[in-house]
Amino acid sequence: MRKFKSFDEFNELKDRLIADQAPYIPTIIIPAGTCGQASGANDLIRITKREILARELTDHIRVRITGCHGFCEMEPSILVEPYRTFYPNVVTDDMVRIVKAVAKGEVLKDLLFKNPETGEPIEKQDDIPFYKKQVRTLLSKNEKVDPIRIFNYIVIGGYTGMVNVLEKGDPKKVVEEVKASRLRGRGGAGFPTGLKWELLANARNGKDKFIVCNADEGDPGAYMDRSLLEGNPHSIIEGMTIGAYGTGAKEGYIYVRNEYPLAIKHLVIALRQAREIGFLGKNILGTDFSFDINLVRGAGAFVCGEETALMRSIEGKMGEPRQRPPFPVEKGIYGSPTIINNVETWTNIPMIIVDGAEKFVKVGQKNNTGTKIFSLVGKIKNTGLVEVPMGITIKEIVYDIGGGPVNNSKFKAVQTGGPSGGCIPAEMFDLQIDYDSLKEIGSIMGSGGMIVMDEHTCMIDIAKYFMTFLKDESCGKCFTCRKGTQRMYEILDDISKGQGTIEKLDLLEELAHVVQDSTMCGLGQSTSNPVLSTLKYFRDEYEKHIKQKQCDAFACKELIGTPCASACPLGTKAWRYIAHIERGEYEDAYCVIREANPFPSVCARVCNHPCEDRCRAGTSGGQSVAIRALKRFITDRIDPEIYKPERIDKAGKNSSKIAIIGSGPAGLTAAHYLSLKSYNITVFEAGQSPGGMLLYAIPEYRLPHNVIQKEIKSLLDENITLKFNTALGKEISIDGLFDDGYSAVFLAIGAHKSRRLNIEGEDVAGVYPSIQFLKSFNTEGESLARGDVGVIGGGNSAIDAARMAIRQDGVKSVTIFYRRSRQEMPALEEEIEAAVTEGIEIRILLTPIKIASKENHVIGIECIRNKLGEIDSSGRRKPVQMPGTEHYISLDTLIVAISEGSDTDCISMASSSRIETTGRDTVKVDPHTLCTNREGVFAGGDVVSGPNTVIDAIADGKKAATIIDRYIKGEDLVQPVLPRIPEVYIEASKAAKEQVEMGDRAKIPRLLAEQRKHNFSEVEVSMSEVEATQEARRCLRCDLEFTLPKGNEAKKIAIGENVV
């Protein structure tokens, strides 16, 4: 390369390079930063080159290998200029097709990015939602530049800023321009860059001055500096040269961590090129300005990102911060005045000089100008680097650019600023991000890491993770930082293991404040942030861990044990019965199920299986084990008689009388467990047969009535008396029960009252509340539906009603109307699918506004279309009605299934029962003890929770039995909760141990739609033995972590001895 000795030579070359450009020749751009290479960009490069050579396309296609473009989720990707066609996740086989298509000027529609909402392919990169809202002033250059070719950078206007500055010859102007841009340091603290430069320019202590580029990016989850170093190293060199000219520095340092090999490689090449061409070194471009840059590789200590530690590290000493003052600008490297700026800050400089400060301040806020790159990572759809103007809200970043949460989960918080930063809870996502607002709420901008967390992230776990990082990465000089982080970790670790106390929590907070206050450097002062900010916004989560030993995110292993057992409201040890099934021990499996659940056959059919939702085989990226189907397999083939519950013998003492009102799952469960303790129980039922909501609300094709009856029969014994046709408020009253000598009353009357739509014309014939519709058929066999049936609602009850309707005679069609989108339907996914297979139509984003009737009978509804609007507090998009889209749909029957409440008239304060109720037509109870406002009266099931699942009702009944027993014995009602840790070791069978590959989740056998559509035979059928064994083998056996014998016991097992 020829060395430039004057400005003219540079301008001449630049003009020539620009003239040589041939923008009409298509260019294949392959991003190959570290991230791209890791996901296979190198293969794409090889194939592209080979194809171009083989097809002799060298004059027709150009290839540019660049740094990272930012959309990491889609790596390796291809961008084709000039039309900017974007191909995401390109596999090697497709690369050949892309090269052919580019040669012909075609676009491959099938490989394009698909709009996640509509499924439409999007051709241009700039139209993709991820890119659309960004302002990519810095990152867009990564696409245009091959980082190892300096001419590439010159063509897009690179080094022009430096040449302009040198030509003008006024260093003061440079500092003035940067000051006017109000650029703030991108390293995290946000100190005004111009001011810093001015201080250095004015510093005189007789020594040479230094400028430093801080590229020691060590925050977990942050990599924006890396992408700039790898993708556009010349912009940093240019920025630093301009800075050196403005401040009078003679030498510069780039301090980059050794963990960035590609960045170092590109920097070394760029520095060599810049020296060869004469942009660095003595007498740059023939002027008397001399400046050179040294590359210093850091050994990977996080603390070396702190400026005083970084300077010591450059000097060759141990990376340890020191007291400021004196500030680096007074006394820096080797005692010389020094300034340190972050990579991103330096990259902004050429742009400010070329375009002018005036243009720069137009982006962003008043005191927070320009753009900021964030690395958006964590539980979000589109991970990657995003460059946004300062002052954008978190909501815009995570929803519009980030694409929202993964798997329909709910956002919980965003963590900014790396380990020293803080958490921002989802309620504050309207916050505009800039240096000041973040500081105000207890976080920091940091270098720009943004970790998104959803409901599956435990805040204690997060705080603990960062504290592990910090206790290792603290330099250890200040006693409070070194010991403080260790002690904070210790307390957090105790809490996550269920050994925390409230006193320790207070100690943690006290210690965190002291550490924040008393350490020397920025790292030490911010080590408390993860603790303090999570405590500030998620204190209840800490308390839940301490008091209830519960981790709602299922992250703290020692509290959760196995996720399946922890997720089950009854604590059913699914892992245990699955292990028995795998070994072929079906009777043992049945006993495990029955021990926890008095309604195993019912739950095997209709449970909403929270265990499967939390199953690690599913949450770790695969498919969860079909636990409910396995339960069905067992309950279908084992005689319930083999299980003999433990009874406390009647010693004459426990003859207290207990009244249970309602014979649904909650009531009967309570009756069963109280009977085992030899109480005298009377169950009062308003109807004519026991079963409650099981009988009324669940259609027979899901739960045959004989299954319910069989199960109930097995629970009844001589301690339990059933009284039918006895309703509270009519035949009995609470006062009357106490007068009759009952010691306690358990209210479990369910939720039988459907909520109303509250629209015009609701009271005409042919409009039925879903409960009434289901009940009429289930108890009296009366078919209410006919003709074209409409169902309003999106919950399980709506699906039940719709599937029931399609089975009734005289029904032509069934349509479900739901106001939100399909993904937001609360009904179980498998139920929705089954409904669709049976020919039920689901129409989304529709709200009924009026019911039309003729001769007092419904003839149709008027609907209005909705669109999805802003995100509401539940994290879902609000349905917004679109005026002008009203339309009429004719119907013969309309079923309203929007929600249910209890008939609280007979229990409310106004009645003789005098029980306090809530505004939602439910009974108010203490959630820990199920106590109502009346002494001796307890309540559980749907009457407390509103319409809920069977398993929750059973759990309430079981809890009520324990509580009532304690109440009668005069014991403390609240008992300490213990984590459900597995304690029994069940060895996996030999076959299971040998099987390495995990198959797909078993398909649950169902009758074909044609066979089942018009009758009430049960849809789901039992698995075969082979299927069940295979499915049980898919279990990851989370229990073994706790139960696998260690030491001598393990040896015994290894040699085949039995361990008792």
């Binding site: 007291q323 290792d472 002291v514 206050d517 008393s518 020397m520």
Partner: protein, 225 residues
Amino acid sequence: MITLNINGANVSVEKGTTILEALRFIGFPIPTLCFVEGLTPYGACRLCVVEIGEGSSSKLVSSCTYPVEEGLKVRTASKRVIKTRKMIIELLLASCPQSKTIQDLASQYGVHQQRFKQEYEDCILCGLCVRMCEEQMMAKAIGFYGRGENRKIGTPFGIPSEVCRLCGGCMYICPACQLRCTFNQPEKAICGACANLSPPCLDKEQFDDMMCYMDPCVACEIKKD
């Protein structure tokens, strides 16, 4: 001369002095563990923290390393300072309960319990021995290695130092007493000089027989629990 305000009184001191020097010169008692006259201030133990500045911009700094500034407002016994110092002592006590220096400090500041898990460490990493060795003995035989919780003091590569003159200066200056007393394991000893001296502090196993100057003795109380 530079004028600063200490606890409400204006004081003039020479330029270049640290806050700690100024405070001690005037007679304010400031506890320190890692500061000894004649060695470079290091700022590791944080016991000498004072509050400087006013209102929302006030902060705590280690007085041993902070140079005096014109008009600086210093408070040596504000609530914030005392609270912090007590917590530091509690942390020290939780780690090195057998050091008499630390026991005395605890007694002086009324710290009668520590709420963390009790540890029995030998070293608080104040770095006095390192500075003694380097600055007064001109030996540079020992130094820090590792970081965070793995930070330790030792010779390069853990082999007995050739430049060590067995002067014992490191032991003399140690506030935690036990630091260098590894004479009974010569292969682990840094210099072995302690073999010639009577140990300045007793082995922690014989903790109960230890002569104690405190009443009540915090360490004994902890041990009893």
